[in-house]
């Protein structure tokens, strides 16, 4: 078994205009809005700029370190140049000694110069490559040792080429090895200087690209978020203008400066809603005021009948037959009943009551509204016709408020028509499925096209000063919107005006309804 109530549309959720219900609801929404963690635009801006700042600092510190390293490497290369020069000088003297027997002391001197230079910069060598540094030290020590041996041999004068021979080859070997290692070290350092310089060449380009990306990202991200929030607020104002006064509820995970705006919006909505309710109510009273001519006429007739009958009874009591007396008393009762039903009908509409959403037969509702305005229409001299399509589904809504809409349209039609006025009301299935349509057509003065866009605006009136409040259509529009419906108008100046109210039907299939 399907419960029909679960199938009914739920648009009535935003329907509650009762202030007692709305206040705690708004407070909860406010709390939910404010309880979210804050991620404000100020914070986002600060984060963006901090990111840029740290990037700059990194680049500057990196550059300083790199420059220092290049400086150190240049120092090393210079020292290495001097060391190599001394070593090569020693080797030239060594060569002279072996060829001509001269310069041995010079060679020893150069070698010890080289030793001094090496020990001065040993740390730099060790830093680059400890093994190679050790190799150089070992070779230089060996070299000097061998030179020392040669010097000793020379002093003894015991010329023994046989002894010199192995020393010479060892000397050559160590010297060559030492130069080779030192040169390779120097080349290595030069390569690394070149690599660093190359890097330096590219850093500004990379930095610029990085800056650009960060700036674009920050700007785009911020602007995008900002615009999204702004657009959301713009959409909200549109929604409010169309009569939907439901508060803004939190959607995102974080709150920001716009949250305060949203909260202010909700406060404003509360005010608007309260005022709107008051406006609907006051407009209703105004509509009742507009009915006075009709109501006075309608009420005065039965009262007049009662008055005339009562006076006739008083004057002619004794002369009247029993039959005539009975007829007169029955007249009195019937006319009193008639006055009662007129007053009841009016009060039923005028009574201030809470918004209730109930299933309604639209045809019956429109007929009741016509009854309310019937005499007003008669006073104006207009004719009214109603045609209701049979077997229409129900609608759901607030009876009083919907009557107010139709009464307003009918009274507007009455105001618009002049001579031979005709009002035609059709209640039927709308062309859009799931909707019922009520057309109120009059052959009156029509709506000039230049004021057409404004007719639903509050306080806009096309009537003479003092005649219209400018609230009727605006209030009607609000009420129809609240019911999930639409109100349209077509008109030709001097010919006709047709207002069409579309209201969603409760599409409960007949077989479910029966259960």
């Amino acid at each position: 078994m399907i419960n029909p109530s679960t199938l009914e549309p739920t648009y009535t959720e935003g329907f509650k205009t009762d202030l007692q219900d709305r206040k705690p609801l708004l407070d909860t929404i406010d709390r939910r809005l404010i309880e979210r963690p804050s991620f404000s635009f100020r914070l986002q801006l600060i984060l963006g700029f901090l990111l840029l700042f740290f990037l700059s600092v990194t680049i500057i510190i990196g550059s300083m370190i790199a420059i220092k390293r290049i400086q150190n490497k240049l120092h090393f290369v210079q020292a290495s140049e001097r060391f190599l020069f001394e070593v090569e000088q020693a080797r030239r003297w060594e060569k002279n000694y072996f060829l001509y027997g001269t310069n041995l002391i010079d060679a020893a001197q150069s070698a010890s110069n080289a030793k001094i230079l090496l020990s001065q910069n040993l740390k730099s060598y060790q830093k680059i490559s400890p093994e190679q540094a050790a190799q150089i030290v070992y070779n230089l020590d060996k070299y000097r040792e061998l030179l020392g041996e040669l010097v000793v041999l020379e002093k003894r004068k015991g010329d023994a080429p046989a002894r010199k021979q192995p020393i010479e080859s060892a000397l050559r070997k160590h010297g060559a090895e030492m130069v080779e290692v030192a040169v390779s070290l120097e080349l290595k350092e030069q390569d690394s200087i070149n690599a660093l310089l190359n890097l330096f060449h590219q850093i500004p380009i990379y930095a610029l690209v990085a800056y650009l990306l960060i700036i674009i990202y920050v700007a785009y991200f911020l602007a995008h978020r900002f615009m999204k929030r702004l657009n959301f607020l713009i959409d909200s104002t549109r929604r409010i203008a169309s009569g939907d006064f439901s508060p803004i509820v939190p959607i995102r995970k974080y709150r920001d400066e716009f949250t305060t705006v949203s909260m202010a919006f909700n406060r404003m909505l509360e005010e608007i809603d309260a005022r709107h309710t008051a406006m609907v109510e006051s407009h209703k009273l105004k509509a009742i005021g507009n009915l006075t001519a009709g109501v006075a006429h309608e009420l005065n007739n039965p009262i007049n009948n009662i008055m005339l009958t009562a006076h006739s009874l008083l004057e002619d009591y004794k002369e009247l037959s029993e039959e005539e007396l009975l007829e007169m008393i029955n007249d009195l009762i019937n006319e009193a009943d008639r006055s009662c039903s007129i007053v009841r009908n009016l009060l039923d509409f005028a009574r201030e009551s809470e918004s209730v959403s109930e299933p309604l037969d639209l045809g019956v509702l429109v007929r009741e509204t016509i009854k309310l305005a019937e005499n007003q229409i008669k006073v104006s001299g207009a004719k009214i016709d109603i045609a209701v399509q049979p077997n229409l589904p129900n609608i759901r809504g607030d009876k009083q408020k919907l009557k107010q809409v139709f009464l307003n349209l009918i009274l507007n039609a009455v105001d618009a028509i002049c001579k031979d006025g005709k009002i035609k009301i059709d209640v039927e299935n709308a062309t859009s499925p799931g909707f019922l349509a009520v057309h109120v057509l009059d052959n009156g003065c029509g709506i000039p096209s230049h004021i057409m866009p404004y007719i639903f605006d509050p306080f806009f009136t096309g009537k003479e000063v003092g005649k219209g409040t400018g609230l009727g259509l605006s209030v009607s529009h609000g009420i129809v919107n609240m019911h999930g419906g639409k109100i349209n108008v077509t008109s030709e100046e001097g010919k006709y005006t047709r207002f069409t109210v579309l209201l969603p039907s409760t599409d409960i299939p007949a077989d479910i309804k029966r259960h």
Partner: protein
């Protein structure tokens, strides 16, 4: 000069005619009652009436139209209007178009009788007839 005042009464409320006919006959009027203003117009074309009492708000033909019709036929006929909703504008229009008087509903039979007496006097009937 006739003895009886010829009165025609139009009101779409049947009770008005039912009650006023005896009330006016009593004071020496010859009363014809109509609920349908079109029928009343036909009768006016057939017969000259001294006084016509008409409701203003009626379907098809209203009291003002009836007043205009009567005055086209005979200028001296006095037309008394009765209305359920008397506005100043309506009263001014009726008077401007030559109505003798306008009475607002609800009224007592004696109110109408007083106005009819005045109208009869204006028409030259003797006062005692309608006393």
């Amino acid at each position: 000069m006739k003895d009886k005042i010829e009165v025609l009464l139009v009101d779409d409320e049947a009770i008005v005619g039912n009650r006023l006919k005896p009330a006016l006959t009593k004071i020496g009027c010859n009363v014809e009652v109509f609920e349908d203003p079109k029928e009343a117009l036909k009768r006016i074309d057939e017969k000259e009436f001294d006084i016509i009492v008409t409701d203003i708000m009626m379907e098809d033909v209203n009291g003002i139209q009836l007043l205009e019709h009567v005055h086209r036929e005979s200028e001296w006929t006095k037309v008394i209007m009765i209305t359920g909703f008397a506005t100043e504008a309506l009263a001014r229009e009726a008077m401007a178009k030559g109505a003798f008087d306008i009475i607002a509903k609800p009224f007592r039979p004696s109110d109408l009788r007083e106005v009819i007496a005045k109208a009869a006097e204006a028409l030259g009937f003797e006062k005692k007839t309608v006393a």
